[in-house]
């Protein structure tokens, strides 16, 4: 962990709202001003900026008014990663969930701070884990450090209810929120968390693992032990049960996807290994 984790590519993201605020950045802002893309034309008296006179519009006006071009300001946004640290995140199938989450956070921290966006991190189990909390920072080193701390964290909580508190902590201006979890929560909690984050641009990142569904063995005896302390259960795997199992898992993910789309974006499935390019494609809507 002493080595600086270098990610191959940046995560490219487009906020779905026009940012406000007085911090210049890389995203389209709601306000005019600066060297951004063309926004509109206003009378000269409203924006007395002779450098941006729009000659064509001025000549076209039958009332001989004078017009000035306005351009969008480029604004910075805040990128937040909300990490579920309930014990189910300790699951280790073909990949380690926490390693995936850590890689995602490191890449996100680097990508956000590189273009001047703030990066904040909240990790929650039943409550917010304050020792992992990172207030939004533009410091590249600070963000990377927080991501590294997260990768070394041990998920132990019995629930992810702290995410509701995390949602109220980041209330305010719209932010880009990556909600990283395996979403093995009660349906009511999912609803509450999405409702609490409704004001933000939420990107659900679903940590999945082939070992949980597609890579299940056809035959055999498995004793499953619940990571969140719900006991153990012996399961005799056989093709019929495996089919039912995969169907139930797909149904769960489909339900989650419906819910997430209703609150903004489709979920991104993070499994086996973290690929920043795939996340970028997902975020850019490709």
């Amino acid at each position: 962990m002493s080595e600086e984790p270098r990610t191959g590519a940046d995560i490219l993201y487009l906020p779905r709202w026009r940012a406000r605020g007085n911090r210049l950045g890389a995203h389209r802002g709601r306000d005019a001003g600066g060297p951004g893309t063309f926004k509109d034309q206003v009378p000269f008296l409203r924006e007395p900026d002779a450098r941006r006179l729009d000659l064509r519009a001025t000549l076209r006006d039958p009332f001989e008014g004078t017009y000035v071009r306005r351009f969008e300001a480029r604004k910075a946004v805040e990128v937040w990663a909300l990490i579920d640290l309930s014990a189910s995140m300790r699951f280790r199938g073909t990949a380690d969930r926490m390693a995936l989450a850590g890689a995602l956070c490191a890449s996100l921290a680097a990508s956000a701070t590189r273009i001047g966006d703030g990066f904040g991190l909240i990790a929650c189990d039943a409550a917010i884990r304050e020792e992992l909390f990172l207030p939004p920072t533009r410091s590249r080193a600070g963000a990377a450090l927080a991501a590294r701390r997260l990768a070394g964290a041990v998920p132990a909580g019995a629930s992810a209810a702290g995410l509701v508190a995390a949602a109220s902590r980041i209330a305010g201006r719209p932010k880009l929120v990556f909600l990283v979890s395996d979403y093995r929560w009660p349906a009511a909690l999912i609803e509450r968390v999405f409702a609490g984050l409704a004001f933000h641009d939420v990107v659900p990142v679903v940590l999945a693992d082939p070992a949980e569904a597609e890579a299940l063995p056809e035959w055999g005896l498995v004793e499953l032990e619940d990571l969140e302390g719900a006991g153990t259960r012996l399961v005799l795997m056989r093709p019929a049960l495996r089919r039912r199992w995969i169907a139930a898992e797909q149904e769960r993910l489909a339900h989650l996807a419906r819910l997430a789309r209703r609150h903004g974006r489709a979920p991104f499935r993070l499994a086996e290994r973290f690929d920043p390019a795939a996340l970028s494609r997902h975020l850019l809507g490709a």
Binding site: A215, L224, E225, V235
Partner: protein, 349 residues
Amino acid sequence: MLPAELARFGAERPWVLWLLPLALLPLVAAPRRRAAWADLAAVPPDPFSRALAGLLRAAGCLAVTGLVAGIAGPYRAGERVTRTGIGAEVSMLIDRSGSMNETFAGRQPSGAEESKAAASRRILGDFVGSRAHDLFAVTAFSTAPMLVLPMTDRHDAVRAAITAIDRPGLDYTNVGRGLAMALGQFGAASGDASRVLLLVSDGAAVIDPRVQDTLRAAFAKIRPNLYWLFLRTKGSPGIADRPAGEDTPQAAPERHLDLFFKSLRVPYRAFEAEGPEAVAAAIRQIESLERDPIPYVEVRPRRDLAGRAYGFAAFGLVLLVLAKLAEVDLARGRAGQGAARAPERRMAA
């Protein structure tokens, strides 16, 4: 009844049984690899798997119980069980006088001919095997009575005793003392079992009047059913034949023995057989007459139950081993691929 049944069970090393609570261990823990799982509630419910889990738990308990019980050396103590079957107490009184070694024609047997002793041996032997719960005693007599076999239900021994009756016979026919000994074969307290005294002889003799009184007393006490199988040699006088001359016991001993038996006031039948077929027919008749319930004692030897206990344990262990062999690892198939992918990721970075 049940505690009495249980009291018959015992163990060689009872202190080992203190380990029996170990049999509850499989309810607490199972030596199976556990796969950590994120959310058990999302696993589809499967009654079959649940039943299998219960079965394996039970198999574990059974294996431990069986092993502990087997080490303790369990046994069921031997006992004597009195049961009721169909049969009779049969006391056989067999004539061993020299004439029994002759054929029914009164000659020494030659070739395929069968002596009277051999024929009765064969037929009585079949009689002994035919019913399971008969008790037999065998007495032989000639000049003096010989106790061959006391009352027993070991039919092999009875058959062996009967096999021995065609050994060359001795001299005379002293039927009185033979009858006394055969009566003495009946046990004292055999309840309401039917008692049969089967006299097999080919002749008769005079019974001393003093002995007659003793016999009457004994018959009156024991009250057996008396059957006289009279193997009559061709040409010799029958039971009912009156002698030509004076009608004295000395002149016609068969007739007078018959009369004596009739005077005893016990159920009595005489069969006059002049050949092996007639003997067989008479025996069949006796067999069909004596069909009363009889209490008999069944001896159950002490039985070692350790083998059975180990058998149960082995059964449970086989189930457990099969379950262990059937175990699979969830991510095993992908582990190799994951290891192979790691360097590639490093290169990409």
